[in-house]
Amino acid sequence: MTAGPRPASAAPRTRGRTLRVVFAGMLGLAATGAATAAGGVLVLYSNDRLLPANIEIDRGLRDAIASSAHAGIDQYTEFLDQPAFSGAEYERAFASYLDTKYRTRTPSVILVAGGDALEFLLRHRARTFVGVPAVHLGIDIAQLQSLQPLPADVVGVAVEYDYARTVGMALRLHPGVERLVVITGASDWDREWEALLRAGLPRLGLAPRIEYLAGLPSGELLARVADLGRGDVVYTPSYFEDGAGKSFIPRDAVARIAAASGAPVYAPYSTFLGAGIAGGFMSSYVDIGRQAGQVAAALLSGAAPSGLRLPPSVPAVAQVDWRQVLRWKVDPERIPQDAVVLFREPTFWQANRSKVLAFAAVIALQAVLIVALLVERRLRQRTASALAESELRMSLAARAARLSMWIWDAARDRFWTTNRLAGDGEPAAAAPMRFDQVLASVHPADRAALDSAARGALARGEEFDIEYRALLPDGEERWIAARGRAEREDGERLVGVALDVTPRKSAELQAAKDRAALTHMTRVSMLGQLSASIAHQLNQPLAAILGNAEAARQMLRRPDVDVAELGAICDDIISEDQRAADVIRRLGALYKRGELRLAVLDLNQLVSETLDLVRTELDTRHVEVAVALASAPPVVDGERVQLQQVLLNLILNGADAMRAIDPAQRRLLIGTEVDGATVSVSVVDRGTGIAPDDLKSVFDPFWSTKADGIGIGLAICQSIVSAHRGTLDVANNADAGATFRMVLPLRRDG
């Protein structure tokens, strides 16, 4: 593919126009991995596979998809191989090849890299890859405008080849420049660049005069640039073809220019970095690929193309080749603060300061360990208890091993640690990692949080404190508590410690799990008490269905079939079947042990459903129920099953409290109320009430007045209500019995 700028001055293109290549430097990504499943992602590149930009885009793209929810998806790659191959016949054949190849394996998303690939897709979309959403990438803003309007399901983020900022940066790095030399080539594409620059540069109002070396044969051009000297800078997008009609890979062409030039060379494409150019404002192709990969992942997740909120362009950053800085004796003070400095060979102290500190840290830790071992040996000699000895040994070893120190030099993106937390025992002398490598060893769900915590602390010069899961190479998961501080004296860096807190975290998670299990267990045991009631609930509709079906069968034996009555019977069977299914669905939810899922809940409805469930039980116990529901819907954000558990518990408790009184007096009042920002549900019984001394203890675990109770029902109710940011309390009624009242926050609209 190609991502190239289309100069803004280019006339709007017509669809039938021959494809032209835009640019060089790009990519190629070897297609790997055999496809085994339908779906997948197809990447169509404009140019050939070995262009450096293509390779970098591919890296960013695979990286983005691998860290998305679609990590395992198949990725296919195709190359249009512009400009080596072009023409209408080639294009038709290529389209038909794609059509045949992907007929049984239609991709879910197509990525088109570069303007040529996008134009190709737009021309053939009516027949090939019909209806498959597409993501474009690496296309210059100006070219993209010439292709508007794009179909609604073709989206992407543009690239800005910002010659104005690049030239501005060059002039800033080289004060006293008198002449800006602009080099372009002879191909159509090169001419478009030339037109763009000729139109745009004068408008910048630059102090130096501008000289154009356009469409020269390479030999002459190289001789001309060799004559440049102090007071000159060169800007070039390089070229595909020189004035003698010879073809070039733009990166090779620019490398020759830079090698020969007596003045620093600036360029718009990041793939030229390392080929001898001094720098420029440019987007990294890895970023371009990553951005497109994220868009593709969103589409794969079912996002509507029109609903994506995409930035206008992939951000460009100042990039400088440090070797060129030295070559052209640029004052380092003039390099922008946020510039990415490449190929810098640091001084010994610069390079090793953090390592030395890290060594010191390791030595300190080793000293601690040695002292600990010595102490341990002394203790071992003294103590007779083998058990105490081994416990001590383990705790010392663990203490010594679980802590590590780390330093992240953000400016150079180098990360050292005394221990990789990976448990692989790599010493501090190991090569530093990049921060993205550190992030790669973090659980995907925690990556973004760690990244933003670290970068946030760096940006604000603050401390940060975070817990995350690290993934060891063997797949084991460890909980790490990291704490760091930004230091700004020499470049931005974070220093801190990391502690393996897996045991504590496991205990916390286990406690939460236990709590959930206990909640579930009490719910299921409560349902056990209700088994008769539940059986009744299910048997009623079954009885009605059976009765209706048998009546129908009998009627069919008669000569005069009453069709209307048979229809009514069928309707009744269907509605009773629905009733049974509802009972099973509601019960299933209560028996299931699920995660907490908040949903919009109408408590009036919840009260009615819960009463359905216990009606038979209450009938058997001769408890009469009265309901007073709020007229405004008492709506909360709640977990249906858990709040139903609370209600069930309160209702059964109320019924239990009335066991000892005359059946004629057993009356339970259940009411809901909306009051300002809160909703309450109260359960009022007419029972014996609660002894004043016990009022405080009813919610304590293992407190029960029932001979057969274990006393966790109300404790669990209270923990459920607290988890809903509500309160549960109890008071004795003035006349008889007690009132349990659950108050929850009212759900706000929206």
Partner: protein, 205 residues
């Protein structure tokens, strides 16, 4: 026609069972509660009560208890959606004809209803027979009653004459009168009637 009083608080169940029983040719009166059944216009009408056990207000077992108190208890077939053994034992001990669990097949319900009605019918006619016998017994003179008791105890005419201080011929005369009044055609039949009336069983030597 066989009549069924169906009492169930669940409208859908009530409707379905009424349909099914009617389709089998039974006459069905359906009530939504025990109270509604008690308030029906003709309390003495005979029929089989098909009764749901658990209902709000007066439940099935309670209705059974009340009907027993009135002395005119119809045969009852209980239906329950959640029957347990103690509940069914209680119901049967209190005189229920059957105790079925929902969902119930109509054939089973029909058998239970018919058996209950037949048993009720038999019980009714047995009671009517006994009533008639007792009315006849009441027409015997004290002396004839004495003779009947002795006959029922298996004493011979001669022994009875000795016991009562009368001649054997008079005993024979009494026996003929007794057989005529009790409408017994043979001596064996007389013994049977006496047994049904409980005569001669108590006060035996």
């Amino acid at each position: 026609m066989e009549r069924v009083f169906l009492v169930d608080d669940d409208a859908a169940v009530r409707k379905a069972l009424a349909r099914a029983l009617r389709a089998q040719g039974l006459q069905v009166e359906a009530y939504e509660s025990a109270e509604a059944f008690l308030a029906r216009p003709d309390p003495a009408a005979r029929g089989c009560l098909v009764l749901d056990v658990s209902m709000p207000g007066l439940d099935g077992l309670e209705l059974q208890r009340r009907l027993a108190g009135t002395g005119s208890m119809p045969p009852i077939v209980f239906l329950t959606g959640c029957g347990d053994i103690p509940m069914s034992v209680r119901a049967i001990k209190a005189g229920a004809a059957d105790f079925l669990t929902k969902p119930v097949q109509v054939a089973v319900l029909l058998d239970a209803v018919r058996a209950a009605l037949a048993a009720d019918e038999a019980a009714l006619s047995a009671r009517a027979d006994l009533d008639a016998l007792q009315r006849r017994l009441a027409t015997l003179t004290p002396r004839e009653l004495e003779v009947l008791e002795s006959v029922a105890r298996g004493r011979l005419n001669k022994q009875i004459a000795g016991d009562l201080g009368i001649v054997e011929q008079t005993v024979k005369f009494h026996r003929a009168r007794i057989m005529a009044r009790l409408q017994a055609r043979t001596a064996a039949e007389l013994m049977h009637i006496a047994a049904r009336l409980g005569i001669g069983r108590t006060g035996a030597d």
